[in-house]
Symmetry: C2
Subunit: 334 residues, 2 copies
């Protein structure tokens, strides 16, 4: 176990398999933890693990990842030669070339990590994918968008991420900005600056932080003392206040759904997906905002797309590892 | 020639071919004329023709189209059996299913016309494609986006159309709204209604009609008598006034490029194409607005995509027939 910066935690063992000869590893590299799953060809989860994220810039960090793969294989009594592909979901733009040039949110040496994985899993194709794009592919393979050929996933967390799937493939984008729907400008009059440096981004109104910000503004506008919040992205408390009929919380929800509905109508006028899937932490409060969002979308979309369904994701935090494995599986089949 | 509602006009004869066994017909059905081209596998144009658009709802209309194909084949000394695919570009939404349900701008019985073409060209795959999407595929095959795998074409005519290409295929959209970028909402505060029934659509500011409308508003705001215009979409006169330093015309161009740049930055945050291509009548005046548009795009795009090139289309009115043939060729190869 040399090289692990943290203890591997097995938090589930999934389906059992027989007759499968190729296996797939999905790795979701987050700021806090690296999650990992081993999958059979049909998407069956054989085992998963997680570990605190080490700096992925040297042998010790790379060994942490390969040791995790070995442990998953060992638990499933499989050899490393049976791994046909490894997918790595990362919280940064991944251009169509697969070569990452900008990784602000994590400490990673992408080319070296890829080389280490290729050396360790010598039969495997190794692919990077943006984390929100991986989540979309996860929902497509095993979640609420199964059987679709096109879909857009909206991940409503601290930020607002997206994954755009067309013809069964997620759009990385020529420069890695495919699915960066949180940074569509939906309010050119905004004076506050978004984390990305632009102004009026969808994320500023429709992410968990956006909902909190909408709420604080509504309280200020009406001279009302806001409820106590657990932090700047505690949309949960705001949504609970909505359930209790709090006027400022409901105003915050209206602002969120105004902008999110506008964003989705714009996306429909570009790629016109079969379905929208809402994921991320805030999607657990969809009882508060989903009907309103659907009504606003239907009222403002082009007539042909006005009936596009908007549903909630089903895979939760596993979407990333599942989608990373699926992207790698598709790459290996090319 | 029974059934033609107008005389076939041969307006060009293109490349000559030898050694090619499969040929492709691209048909661009417009409100005024039906244009048609015969192509070899590499996109070489063997001949083209046009005729006034008949009602495409009965035998007489269908025969007009098949007679046009026969005449093109006869001029090239080819048999109808050598036609491997026929593409039909139409000014209405074409869903991914290929079944047209809404055709407001032309008189067409889409399923019957398709059946008539399949009966006449019995070896051919017949495919519909939206006209703006066809133009994008034309520029990809033989125009200014050759060699690209992704691109977005913006057709600036009376309206504003678009074609979004990803992984070499144009996105029809699940409901036919793929590439309907003229109807992205870029100004939620707009009170005037767009032709589509929505408000604040990109087309209201950045099409030829939009430029005229921006100009008339600027003249009204400043109490200035507008120049004489040839109609509600005579952006040419407005752009000429820009060249002469006319303040209101320049204001109209600034409004156009503000909204168009915002629209392109939004598109980059969804599909992040390799390149933007501007076509349509107004693209002939790109000397007036292209540098301004590029600067505004670069200033407001996400950092990774800020360098996306914006270029002018090269195929002019032939983009539709070329793209229709290419879409059909790709469908035949599936």
């Amino acid at each position: 176990m040399a090289g692990w910066s943290g203890r591997i935690i097995y938090d589930a063992k999934g389906d059992t398999m027989s007759g499968c000869t190729s296996y797939y590893v999905g790795i979701d590299v987050g700021g806090t933890s690296v999650k990992m799953g081993l999958f059979a060809e049909g998407g069956e989860l054989l085992g998963k693990a997680s570990v605190l994220t080490p700096p992925l810039t040297d042998e010790a960090g790379f060994n942490a990842v390969t040791a995790g793969i070995d442990q998953l294989l060992s638990e499933a009594a499989l050899d490393v030669a049976s791994v046909a592909a490894v997918g790595l979901a990362v919280p940064c733009p991944v251009p169509a070339s697969g070569e990452i040039t900008l990784a602000a949110n994590i400490t990673i040496a992408p080319a070296e990590l890829k080389a280490a994985l290729e050396a360790h899993c010598s039969a495997a194709v190794v692919r990077y994918v943006n984390d929100a794009n991986a989540a979309a592919m996860g929902e497509l393979w095993r979640g609420s968008a199964q059987g679709r050929t096109s879909m857009v996933m909206v991940t409503i967390g601290t930020g607002l991420g997206g994954g755009v799937v067309v013809n069964g493939d997620v759009i990385d984008g020529a420069f890695g900005a495919g699915g960066e729907i949180g940074h569509m400008c939906v309010n050119p009059d905004e004076t506050r600056t978004c984390g990305c440096g632009l102004k009026g981004c969808l994320e500023q109104y429709a992410s968990a932080s956006g909902v909190v910000s909408n709420y604080l503004k509504a309280c200020e506008d009406h001279g009302v003392e806001p409820r106590e919040l657990a932090g700047s992205s505690d949309s949960r408390t705001v949504f609970q206040a909505c359930r209790e009929g709090d006027a400022q919380a409901l105003e915050a929800m209206e602002v969120m759904t105004d902008y999110l509905a506008r964003g989705l109508t714009i996306i429909s006028a570009v790629v016109d997906p079969e379905i929208y899937i809402l994921g991320g932490g805030a999607s657990a409060s969809s009882d508060v905002f989903l009907d309103t969002l659907r009504a606003k979308f239907a009222a403002h979309a082009l007539k042909v797309s006005a009936g596009t369904p908007i549903e909630v994701a089903t895979l939760g935090n596993d979407a990333g590892i599942i989608g990373a494995a699926y992207v790698a599986l598709r790459a290996a089949g090319e």
